[in-house]
Assembly symmetry: C2
Homo-oligomer: 330 residues x 2
């Protein structure tokens, strides 16, 4: 049986109240007593039962972190940043991988409520506004609109797309395609799409959109992309995520297309992973670190004071990482 507050009191030769006071640093306390109590705690390897403390209305210091999947390096890295920051501030991360499953997301949401989490960082959004609004907990959303009261943190998707399209253009591409992972409004991909479309228009070029759905397996994506590369005559592709860009590079190589001479490719996300292991890929890097920090920062502000005025949308700048896949002399 784990030791409890009373055991510590007995061990230290003080009253339970005093032990509680020491733990919470509450009221008058002499150094001597404090030390006695601390020693007793160490001796018994005592950890205050946070369940009991939470029941008292104290915070649980639990934060629900809801993403579709951590096996995607982008989310893996973002979740890692978030977890790190939360840990530093004394919070614990409950990891929820919704796998883009509406039902799972709903169950998770309820579970988080039942577990009295202090707040939620939501990076998976398959549910409607209503479901999120009735949660009644501080929520910060990553990169997607949930409701008018839930702040959003995202990278500058529009500007990223503009940069990407311009980069392709400046390096000589004229038949520039967009490979988008989905085509849903309210999704970040859609701002990237808009950025692409408007830039193409400004450049007086014809836009070409292809949806490479994120629900497809890599093999199917590869097949589809190979087909597009074979039938269409393309010299520039902006992929709304790096992983799709990797497939494009591979298919291009297999088809004997030279990159960047025949085909310029640019991705989006710019994870550390991509930078480390695919330094040939030009990409729009999201500020993963800053986004993680900000998500946590804002959430904690809301937790400390639920009436804190927050902007509805925090847009963080992106950065073009120019590499060989778009520019011969990088």
């Amino acid at each position: 049986m784990r030791p409890k507050l009373n055991d510590v009191a007995r061990e230290a030769g003080v009253s339970p109240t005093t032990v509680s006071r020491v733990i919470n640093n509450h009221g008058y306390l002499s150094e001597k007593t404090k030390n006695k109590v601390f020693e007793a705690m160490k001796e018994l390897n005592y950890q205050p039962n946070s369940i009991a403390r939470s029941l008292h209305g104290k915070q649980t210091n639990l934060i629900g972190v809801l993403f579709s999947s951590v096996s995607n390096p982008f989310f893996g890295e973002l979740v890692e940043k978030i977890e790190n920051k939360l840990f530093k501030l004394g919070y614990k991360t409950i990891l929820c991988n919704s796998a883009d499953n509406k039902e799972k997301e709903r169950v998770y949401l309820n579970m988080l409520i039942a577990n009295q989490v202090d707040g939620i960082i939501a990076g998976a959004h398959n549910l409607g506004i209503k479901e999120y609004e009735k949660v009644g907990l501080p929520i910060i959303s990553f990169d997607r609109y949930l409701s008018d009261t839930i702040p959003i943190v995202s990278s500058d998707n529009y500007q990223g797309a503009v940069l990407a399209t311009q980069e392709l253009y400046q390096n000589g591409a004229r038949t520039i395609y967009l490979f988008a992972s989905s085509k849903t409004p309210n999704s970040p991909t859609d701002r990237r799409r808009t950025g692409y479309l408007e830039t193409m228009e400004r450049l007086n070029l014809t836009a070409h959109e292809k949806v490479i759905s994120s629900s497809m397996t890599a093999t199917v994506k590869a097949l589809l992309i190979k087909q597009i590369l074979t039938t269409d005559s393309i010299d520039g592709i902006f992929c709304t995520d790096d992983l799709t860009a990797l497939i494009v590079l591979r298919q291009a190589r297999e088809l004997g297309l030279r990159v960047p001479q025949d085909l310029k490719v640019i991705g989006y996300d710019g994870t550390q992973f991509i930078q480390n292991y695919h330094p040939e890929l030009t990409t729009i890097a999201q500020p993963i670190n800053d986004m993680g920090e900000l998500l946590v920062e804002l959430l904690l502000q809301r937790i400390e004071d639920e009436k804190t005025e927050l902007k509805h949308h925090y847009v963080l700048p992106v950065k073009l990482i120019r590499n060989q896949s778009s520019s011969q002399f990088d």
Copy 2:
């Protein structure tokens, strides 16, 4: 204020006791009352406060999942499997990224205890046996020895190394190097090392070991590897992880070494990610799915009955995934 059991009782026009009975399906209950209660629960959007339930001695249904980092695709995928399985069985995952930091790991361990987790899956091990033994909770370890009482789940590291080395040999390599991510006993890498060494001996070949420390950045690794490839005359490399293998492939390409003609390379892990995005790499695939399932399975057995007899070491079979990096005709 969130609704409580009493509110539900009032709403449903029954006694609190009855509501509790409905929730826990305890004692005699008519369909009619059940429905009334369920409707009231839905009406008020009521979620039993799991904090309060836990305090009452029930399980918390929280599991601590301790790994060094989820941004590494291998751990990302494994954690995802674990989280999935746990979720299916009604458990919640508290994610802990120790970042190979001893202090962080210790703090996390204490935190998990304070949070009354029902058990721990430990995939980060920088602490000594004692620290893990005094946790006093069901623990299952991934791929590393923690103590005599803590079961281990791992892939067949020895056999994997044997397969890898043989594969290189059978494809003609004779100067076969081992690129190991560390050189600590008790670590899985060490069994891979042993497998390599013994196979080399059996083949009457001279072993060559190089440590490519996992604490180095990708750039430094690349530099070091380039140097080795330049000075030493090598025709086969077994890397104890896939990411290092990727760097080797890239450096070889930059040095004009043809793979697999001049140099054969084989990695270890075989994540879905590698299979999707680097289908050229021959690798020893760990059964990530099975390992995740087994880790959870064993842990829950221990939780349900702490005296369950478990084997001390569960070794799951690995599979050679033969691709172009080791064999010209794959």
